[in-house]
Amino acid sequence: MLRETTTGLPRRRRAPLGLGLVLGLVALGLAVVGSVAVGAKGLPPSVVLDALLHHDPADPDHLIIWQVRVPRTLVGLLAGAALGLAGVIIQGVTRNPLADPGILGVNAGASLCVVVAISVAGIDSMTGYVWFAFLGAALAAVVVYGVGSLGRDGATPLKIALTGAACEAAFRSLTTGILVSDNATYEQFRFWQVGSLAGRDAAVVTQALPFLIAGFVLALASARTLNGLALGDDVARGLGQNVPAGRALCALAVVVLCGTATAMAGPIAFVGLMVPHAARLITGPDHRWLLPYSMVLAPLVLLVADIIGRLVAQPGELQVGIVTAAIGAPVFIALVRRKRVRG
């Protein structure tokens, strides 16, 4: 679907793109400030500043900043960056513009593993979920990639997408089966299932960080491979790329990024789908720009969605997964329609 040559952009486009990235970072910085400053409880800026500079553990308002807003801002930043990168890579590897982590069965695998952990092992803490979500994501990717590689022509985008969709359905069915027969697990899983930045404590961030850094490095390093794959396997091979190895590396990056993001925040819909498209409008198809742009724009979307969720349902909150789905569903439909018109 990426028909333009992706090996390089005219030199003159780089300066505006670089500037755009800086502007994106500035916007992200503002979102971070907003995420710390705005919430279900209205705190004046002076209190927020005071909490950040002179933390007093006895002051409930300071606790809100440090226990609620700072951790969820960090989770939003990291999970958002991971989802944005993973979205680009999946769309690149499968050459499917509507692909997102769901299509590889990664989210469903993570969910299944979390449910099994709650139901069988009695795991009931967020820090416990991380590992099982991660394990589930990895297992799902191995299964999907393994099954998708069977046959003479190896892991083609179509086979991976089909296998992913089939596994996604199978994992979901199993998950639902367990949830229907086990009320207590259902109640616990429910919250995680929707996807939220709230209620995740700082330990989750610390645990996830090494994985995320590895994932970020892998993802950003995959730009050339993705540019090659975008031209089709044959051309990529002709350019001297090792296609199966490149694709496997990309798959690894996706597993690490999605597994960790999902573990941290629960499955969050549409961010990984929407953001790469938005980024592509600005950068064009070159993955060397697409990846960093998505890495900046996805957390921006996620943090803004989270801030909206905190404000619209007071004194409760709307989980960010619901907000992104509400924003994302129309975008998804628009994409599908546009594709049909052009395709």
């Binding site: 006895a58 409930p60 009931d124 919250f191 709230a198």
Partner: protein, 336 residues
């Protein structure tokens, strides 16, 4: 592609919990006052009961009762009738009898256990019932129609009632009539009323004090508002519902509370239950600990699951048990 089903269903358990919590109002324990002599089979048949699905007539004293609604089996047992089929809403397992039920109210013949939200009509039919109780349930027309198609009187939620919002008094009244045990039911009610009055009378220090009643489910806090059984329970002891919580009330039994709005739980007394999470998640939460009433010790955490379920049960014997267990905890918390 994104699992619409769990999300769609997501609100149901919460709603159920909220509802149940809401229902638990007052209780009646039949032990103390022996005012009315019980006349067995005090009801006369045929008897007609008004339900949300129209008037239901029960032609003769039922012998094979299937109890499907939340608490229906327990109320039938309380009135001395053993259902042949029952749903285990709590879920306690086995034959679904809650731990607070006295030994002499247990089954002598174990019932067939049936589903709660989803009941197999085939399984119900196989039990050859002559009465089906579904007085505290979703009030779903499709479910009612399926059961009614068996040709057996089905006592659904009361006329004008809402899903899972049947009060314990309504439930007791309907089941008492349906089973022909109206005088037993009246005695159960008056006993529980008396027990509440006695508890309130013994603790004048409760009177007029504000209470915020909440729960923590996985990841989110909630607070109960008027119309709920937990609030009725506390009000019968003399407390008044926290005005700041009540001010946030919408059309549900509870409101969700952002972790940033824990100040809503501040009152003369804070009562909170863990639902599906460990009590640690409440007691070790620095945000909860920072609530002034909690910091001062004026807090009751219903960490014992049986006590928490009894408090929320909205059945006469559950509430009676809750009075025995919770009142001393409240007394201690208020004295701190």
């Amino acid at each position: 592609m994104r699992s619409p089903r769990p999300r769609a269903r997501g609100s149901l358990p919460a709603l159920l919990l909220g509802a149940v919590l809401a229902l638990a109002g007052c209780g009646s324990s039949a032990e103390q006052s022996a005012t009315e002599p019980a006349t067995p089979a005090s009801g006369r048949f045929p008897v007609t009961i008004a339900t949300a699905f129209g008037d239901v007539t029960i032609p003769a004293q039922p012998k094979r009762v299937v109890a499907l609604g939340w608490g229906d089996a327990e109320v039938a047992l309380t009135l001395g009738v053993q259902p042949v089929g029952a749903s285990d809403w709590l879920p306690v397992g086995g034959d679904g009898v809650a731990p607070w039920m006295p030994q002499d109210k247990h089954y002598t013949t174990a019932p067939t256990m049936l589903g709660t939200l989803e009941v197999s009509a085939e399984q119900v039919a196989a039990l050859d019932p002559d009465l089906i109780l579904d007085t505290r349930a979703g009030g779903d027309k499709a479910r009612y129609d399926q059961l009614a198609a068996l040709g057996v009187p089905v006592v659904g939620i009361p006329a004008g009632g809402e899903a899972y919002a049947t009060t314990w008094q309504q439930q007791l009244d309907m089941i008492g009539k349906a089973l022909g045990r109206t005088s037993e039911a009246a005695k159960v009610q008056s006993d529980l009323d008396a027990k509440f009055q006695q508890a309130a009378g013994a603790h004048p220090e409760f009177t007029g004090k504000s209470v915020a009643v909440g729960a923590k489910m996985a990841g989110s806090y909630g607070a109960y508002v008027n119309g709920g059984a937990r609030i009725e329970f506390m009000e019968r002891l003399g407390f008044t519902q926290s005005p700041q919580v009540q001010a946030q009330a919408n059309d549900s039994f509870y409101i969700t509370v952002s972790p940033e709005r824990m100040d809503l739980f501040n009152a003369d007394l804070t009562v909170i239950s863990p639902i599906g999470v460990s009590a640690d998640e409440i007691t070790k939460d620095p945000l909860f600990q920072a609530v002034p009433s909690v910091k001062a010790g004026h807090v009751v955490v219903l960490s014992d699951q049986t006590v928490s379920q009894a408090f929320a049960s909205a059945t006469p014997l559950g509430l009676s048990y809750a009075i025995d267990q919770v009142v001393p905890m409240i007394t201690e918390a208020m004295a701190r």
